[in-house]
Assembly symmetry: C2
Homo-oligomer: 173 residues x 2
């Protein structure tokens, strides 16, 4: 059944499967990563049933993860006139993907962490010396570092790919 696949599709299946495992290493679940890989390499937008079939997963699973990907702004819904089905299409531009993921991670992961650090720093700002003071300083250091990172990210995020590239090249130069 796999024999009939054109060679590039074989490579694609490899890619999808492996991308799934990589996903799990990050916090991302296997199916979500696989669907993303699948759509990134899809010549045309795909519907839920096609995804189900390709990955041999249930409708519920396909549905939830497709919608999650839409929530991450990595996939958009396409509708066709005279067709009630929804089709899904992934962003393929690598730079845009990078921007999108950075934004989301910043919002979901970094910013909450910064809040925690500020809170802990605040609660110990009157510590004059000793372990308490050191703790306070550590919280401030972490906060400062992450906040600075966010600033850099914000700058990069608003850059065009070309400008970012140019900027980075200067560093490597």
């Amino acid at each position: 059944m796999n024999k009939e696949l054109p060679p590039w599709e074989k490579a694609r299946e490899e890619f999808v499967a492996q991308w799934g495992s990589f996903g799990t290493q990050w916090g991302i679940n296997r199916t979500m990563a696989q669907i993303h890989a699948l759509l990134m390499t899809a010549p045309e937008p795909m519907c839920t049933d096609e995804v189900m079939e390709k990955l041999e997963i249930s409708r519920g699973n396909a549905h939830t993860n497709l919608k999650d990907l839409v929530g991450w702004n990595l996939v958009r819904i396409i509708t066709r006139k005279g067709d009630r089905k929804e089709y899904f299409e992934a962003e393929k531009d690598v730079w845009k993907i990078f921007i999108t993921i950075s934004k989301e991670r910043k919002r979901r992961e970094i910013e909450p962490a910064i809040h925690l650090l500020r809170d802990c720093a605040d609660r110990t700002k009157d510590e004059a010396a000793g372990p308490g003071r050191e703790f306070h300083q550590q919280m401030k250091d972490l906060d400062e570092f992450l906040s600075f990172g966010v600033k850099v990210a914000d700058t990069v995020i608003t850059m065009k790919h070309a400008s970012a590239l140019q900027w980075a090249m200067r560093l490597l130069g």
Copy 2:
């Protein structure tokens, strides 16, 4: 029992607990993140039993995660003369922590991904047109992007904190 804790220790407990949850959002398991937070804010190196007690976890759990952290180079083992126990101490310098984590993630996550992409690109390099060609290009694009990222990371990794800061400031400037 918590009443007797100095205020900074209360903040610390909050920090440790929360850092644990953040950990899970990344691929990191709760306990490992908590131990890391605990050690980062420890005035002195701690031994296994202290960690067990503070976090109310089993010896096995404490042991495995401490050793994992050592494996990540985020924690080092300290021994004291006349004392058979091992003590654990976390790197506290934020920049160094960042460097260490970047290195490890690069090695464990990015480089394997690059290999996969190269392999998939290679296997489809003869596709002349159509979907096969597009797939090939997508693999190449992803590879190029990640490889470039690695180069940038390698440069940053070898920089002193001050130089990196200066460099980043110019961007924000």
